[in-house]
Assembly symmetry: C2
Homo-oligomer: 210 residues x 2
């Protein structure tokens, strides 16, 4: 939690080798998973040798942990911004959904990484992913519950609904290679993403507004 502070010099022009390593690591881990990625792969992507990489990060696990923490804090920050926006009823649901889509669109690699971690049950992480997201999950469920009780949204089980929504949105990005084959088109082009987002939101509105 307290590790959110980052040096972050990054005066635009040159990213530090450290940051370049993190960037490349995200790509590799998202693409081929933790076990499927070797430190040599990452180092080669940056243009250095493995021992040089290990000069910046003590171990593969350390690198992965730091990278994941960075992603998670970025995610939480953006979600919190969306959650804090002044809206209510369905409008707020739609705002959060759109924020989620925007977040995923900006960095689809994050999504695949998250999905892999969810699949593995956080085996490569010291932290428990679910427990970190739990407060957010509970808050969202509570919001939905009150809105449903007030008759603003249709009565459904909030927790199951959230899991369904989580799966519906995440999947389009995490399984993009597979979706490509289904729709015979690039899933992650901006226009296709918007089309899918609109479709999902229409779907949810149909289900949730009385």
């Amino acid at each position: 939690m307290a590790l959110l502070d980052r040096t972050e010099p990054d005066e635009g022009e040159t990213r530090s080798t450290r940051d370049l390593i993190l960037d490349e690591a995200v790509r590799c881990f998202a693409e081929r998973g933790y076990e499927g990625t070797s430190l040599n792969d990452i180092a080669a992507g940056v243009g250095i040798r493995r021992p040089s990489l290990l000069h910046h990060f003590a171990s593969k696990e350390t690198l992965y942990g730091e990278l994941f923490e960075r992603i998670l804090s970025d995610w939480l920050e953006r979600v919190n911004i969306a959650v804090a926006l002044d809206a209510s009823g369905w409008d707020k649901v739609e705002l959060v959904l759109r924020a989620g889509f925007a977040l995923f669109e900006d960095n689809p690699d994050y999504v695949r990484l998250m999905r892999r971690e969810a699949l593995d049950g956080g085996a490569h992480l010291g932290i428990d992913l679910a427990s970190v997201l739990r407060p957010l999950f509970d808050a969202a469920a509570e919001y939905l519950r009150t809105q449903m009780e007030a008759g603003v949204l249709r009565q459904l089980d909030p927790r199951h609904l959230l899991i369904t929504g989580y799966g519906a949105i995440l999947t389009y990005f995490s399984d993009a290679p597979f979706v490509n084959g289904l729709i015979d088109d690039e899933a992650l082009t901006p226009s296709n993403i918007r089309e899918h987002a609109d479709s999902v939101i229409t779907f949810f509105r149909s289900a949730l507004t009385p």
Copy 2:
């Protein structure tokens, strides 16, 4: 010889070693992925040495391929049965959804395997997963389209809807370890599965029936 008691009194039904290997391989690959699983892990789970495993399967890739093919044909068979049932409109949608839930409940490992393959874009497979499921996908989309046009179901983009449904249903099973942490309960108990299935189906019915 005293190391491993392999005699295994053939009390009635005994699965062949080959089948035992396949069973264990599904478990391991679902749990830790292709790269995360070594042939030693699988062999140890069966109670034999790696070379003995390779006596039954030419290579790791062969084993994985055969296992996946078996799963896929099982899946397709069961889906086809559900699709062939005599029903129409929303009833048919619900039938297929329930068939999907039943299939996943019977073999949650299959789901995680599929998800991993979707994530990797079928990198470990000779076949293209999407192209195999494509006919099913197209048929489902066409069914939805005609039902929508007839006014039996609400007008939504069938293809995006299918992808959303696919993600919503698959996720509950594939990300079960993560869901456990969110709901603070075992996601894959029969009662929780039924509860979630009912929730998803209610949700879809709300969205789809005019």
